[in-house]
């Protein structure tokens, strides 16, 4: 099947024109603008994910045309995934899980009074990544979806293992501590029923724990509460109002001009932008693997290939740029399996498919067929167009959000910290309206506080919680089918993924040994 986007027939051209007229319609543009502001708001509030933002939109899409409904969803997601970087940078609480990979980097720059740099880098690279993802979606959807369609539980198992490996490797202190954090996270993920067996595990008889540990309150606790507690402990009575302001207020002048950093990065690293955006696009296409894994993997690759990997974890703009580009690139390509198979690439596209069905549109290969289903092809082109408009709109709206958000850290910490706790309380409760989640947040906050005291990184814990269940599920699926090594390495994709994992774990040790040997020889 030829891709209509590459070989426009008359009907395809008409479809493109119709799509463009629909997207540039005044009402649609108003919907896009409103969704952008809404997305920024929700994304910037820790505890409210992009998925939740979209779920809350669904009742409103009843009142919109199909193109407007899709425009609202796409814009909301694009903006909220970027906006997740704002609290990650300013208070080290990722607004959405996709920002967790580089929260420590961005925050450590903030502590040095350079918060505008990571935020500007994140904005510009988000837009570049988002546009790249759109191009991939438009150009390669049918072909690439065929590859993703070949993934069985074995390939998925290796993919999740790769994502988790990356999370452990990127931690800056030691790989062992990273691995420890990862395992603790995965163990927390096994609490409750699990996906595969109707047997409660590690619940100690509690009814609440049967559900398992919800990662949203866990993430708020690990990153948010632990940070608040650390700060509160550090505030002593000697501190008067002036001292309590973070270094930011007076340090701001010393920070480099953010535009300069962005221009320098963009000039020197255009290849790595392409690389991380491609990583994001490929990962976004795989069902279940969304923007958050894309960010982790892009960050790990960026660190591995960087001339100065030491800086990663303590304020690397390169790492931030690569990861933030990848998570936005993943958003576009998540629509590929959704449109081609009707199988969502992430939870947001799952909701979007529901909305499409409500509007009487059945996703499937026919959506690219301009001769028999011109009205559906219009929608495909409209989705591309909306992604482009949303990403371009992100620039001005994101700029305002960055500068508005930066006012936050000028508030003295002794006022800010209690207010953050209040929002953590609401955020952990809001997802499921559950008090148990508030307890989870508190316990995780204390756990995070303790782990940090032993310099164990917190990022891998969160990723372990999020992906541990998925990894176990694919593992159990695979061993119930056929537990032999031959089955696990039965396809070229599996072999490639497995070798990558092996390489990531052993390469640093081998290169260290190699160096030692050479030193001894010399």
């Amino acid at each position: 099947m030829a891709d209509p986007a590459l070989e426009p027939t008359m009907t395809a051209r008409e479809a493109i024109v119709t799509a463009l007229t629909q997207v540039t319609d005044v009402t649609t543009l108003a919907v896009i603008a409103a969704s952008a502001v809404y997305g920024i708001f929700v994304g910037a509030i820790p505890g409210l994910t992009a998925t939740m933002a979209v779920a809350l939109l669904v009742p409103l899409t009843f009142f919109l045309s199909d193109v407007q409904a899709i425009a609202a969803i796409v814009t909301t997601v694009t903006c909220s995934i970027f906006a997740g970087d704002i609290p990650a940078t300013l208070v080290r609480i990722p607004g959405t899980p996709a920002s967790a990979a580089y929260a420590s980097d961005a925050y450590s720059l903030t502590q040095r009074g350079r918060h505008l740099e990571p935020l500007s880098v994140s904005l510009v690279f988000s837009v570049i990544g988002g546009l790249f993802g759109t191009v991939v979606l438009a150009a390669a959807a049918p072909q690439l979806a065929r590859l993703a369609g070949e993934f069985t539980s074995y390939e998925n198992f290796w993919l999740y293992a790769l994502g988790l490996t990356c999370a452990a490797i990127v931690s800056h202190d030691s790989r062992l501590k990273g691995a420890l954090a990862l395992l603790v996270g995965m163990l927390l993920a096994t609490v409750g029923l699990g996906t595969d067996y109707s047997v409660p595990r590690l619940t100690f008889g509690s009814d609440h724990l049967i559900t398992g540990i919800n990662f949203i309150p866990a993430m708020i606790g690990l990153f948010g509460i632990s940070e608040v507690l650390r700060n509160v402990l550090g505030l002593s009575d000697r501190d008067d109002a002036g001292d309590m302001r973070p270094a930011v207020a007076d340090g701001a002048a010393k920070g480099r001009e953010p535009g300069f950093s962005v221009r320098r990065l963009a000039r020197e690293r255009w290849l790595s932008i392409l690389r991380s955006s491609s990583i994001g696009s490929v990962i976004g296409m795989l069902p279940g693997a969304g923007a958050d894994i894309a960010a982790w993997i892009a960050y790990a690759v960026s660190k591995r290939l960087s001339p100065n990997p030491k800086g990663y974890g303590s304020g690397s703009l390169e790492g931030i740029g690569d990861a933030t580009g990848a998570n936005n690139a993943a958003l576009g390509s998540a629509w590929i399996p959704a449109l081609v198979f009707g199988i969502p690439g992430d939870s947001v596209t799952a909701i979007a498919i529901g909305v499409l069905l409500m509007k009487n549109i059945t996703p499937g290969p026919k959506i690219f067929d301009t001769t028999d289903h011109p009205e559906q092809a219009v929608l495909a082109f409209a989705i591309y167009a909306v992604f482009i408009v949303a990403n371009l709109l992100l620039i001005p709206i994101g700029w305002f959000a960055i500068h508005g958000g930066s006012l936050l850290i000028r508030v003295p910490r002794r006022i800010l910290l209690p207010v953050i706790v209040l929002f953590c309380l609401i955020g952990s409760y809001a997802m499921n309206a559950s008090y148990f989640d508030v307890w989870v947040m508190l316990v995780m906050g204390v756990l995070g506080f303790v782990l940090e005291a032993f310099r164990v990184p917190l990022g891998p814990v969160v990723l372990g919680i999020i992906l541990g269940g998925e990894l176990e599920h694919r593992f159990i699926q695979s061993i119930t089918k056929d537990a032999s090594a031959g089955a696990f390495l039965g396809s070229p994709i599996s072999v490639v993924l497995a070798s990558l994992i092996l390489l990531l774990w052993v390469a640093p040790s081998i290169s260290a040994m190699w160096r030692k040997l050479r030193e001894r020889d010399a």
């Binding site: 929700v42 779920a55 809350l56 669904v58 009742p59 009843f62 009142f63 919109l64 045309s65 993934f151 069985t152 539980s153 062992l176 501590k177 420890l180 395992l183 163990l187 595969d196 067996y197 109707s198 409660p200 595990r201 009814d207 049967i210 559900t211 398992g212 507690l229 509160v232 402990l233 550090g234 505030l235 009575d237 199988i343 969502p344 939870s347 799952a350 909701i351 409500m358 509007k359 059945t362 290969p365 006022i415 209690p418 207010v419 706790v421 209040l422 953590c424 309380l425 609401i426 809001a430 309206a433 559950s434 148990f436 947040m441 005291a453 599920h473 159990i476 699926q477 061993i479 119930t480």
Partner: protein
Amino acid sequence: MVCLTGCNEPSSYPNRPITLICPWGAGGGTDAVSRQIAAHLETELGVPVGVVNATGGKGVTGHNRGFRARPDGYTLTMATLELNMLHWNGLTDLTYHDCIPLMSVNEDYAAVFVHSDAPWETIADLEAAIRANPKTLTASGTASGGAWHLALAGWLISAGLNADDVVWVSSTGAAPSLKELMSGGVDLVCCSLPEAATQMKNGDVRALGVMSPQPVPGFEDVPTFVDAGYDWTLGGWRGLAVPRGTPADVVKTLTNALDRVTSGETTILVGASQVDGEVVRRRQTFPQFMEEQGYDNTRRGPEEFQRLLAERDEQLGALLTSDVMRSVNRDRFNAATFPNALLAAIGAVLVLLVVQRGLRRSGSASESPIENASLRRRSVSRKGVIACTLFVLAIAVYPLAAETVGFVILSAALLGLMLWSLGNRIPTCAAVTLVVVPIAYQFFAGVLRVPLPRGWWGW
């Protein structure tokens, strides 16, 4: 946004927002039906009806939350077939006796799907293949022991085979299972017809049969298992219920409202399009929605729903407590495999860390400067420790007291206390509290419709 304020008629039910608990995730079938019902109930009852996805624990969470809520009619639950299964599995002691059934809105029957290139044309072909080579074919559709697994196992038993003659590969739902089916990962998928409608329409999968008493409207060319000669039917019902103890007049109001909704007497706006410059609004009834989406549209009133609950409970109880089904769950790999492996790995890493530290100590006395710095930073004031403890306590008080006291009052008190403990002056504490709490309340409860705790003054 229709009726957030200004529809307060105290003492008459309903006079405040209603929560509809959906035990399954956003984007799925139960979620779609719940949201649709909620929108219709909202127009019918005149108060906002918000859907909360209380997921997890294979439905344990949602059903427990819904049926253990205050029986005042402000918490409805979209119960599903799992209510008839969970207590047999020993996952909860909640049964259908803990709820008052209002109305069941649909029953989607299980169907068996194969890849479009599969060699089997009929259910009989499939049965012959399973009989010839037991334990070689794999099937998926839901988690082990889930509704669709039971449906398949029940059919195998009724055909005189063993429940585990087809290897069940656990999955998270119909969509990922269908993807596995299409990529050749499994041989069969058992799920409902609407869940696979897209893939059927695209010609990727074929339905061999459906476990309904009669052919399903919209899918008339799919033969039933009964017609193929098997005495086996199973459908996943969805229905609304309230906790036991809900006042009779509230139950009556809700049943009447649901009756009007499910009989198509209410409409909601589903779209607007411009035709020749004029805005044409499209309104839709609930049955129209169900039909359009390919969901079954059978509704049952309170008594009939109660009978259905009793019947399914008996049928699934017999299956779940039978020896054949138990043997399925006694596998080489079980629920403890993965956690045990993780615990072993954590132990190994801890040992390695200790060894590494020991090596470093003996290798050179000098510790890294960073570690020294972090040690020095540990010198903390007593005031800091007190404030830190107070913060932890404040967070712990919230889940304990919020439901009785109410969000605004409690969070204002806690926020004020935390501010004060950090040494802010009292006027500052008061000002920050008075600005932040009402704004937070308005934004979350008003705009985002988060059901914040209500408490003493409903505030």
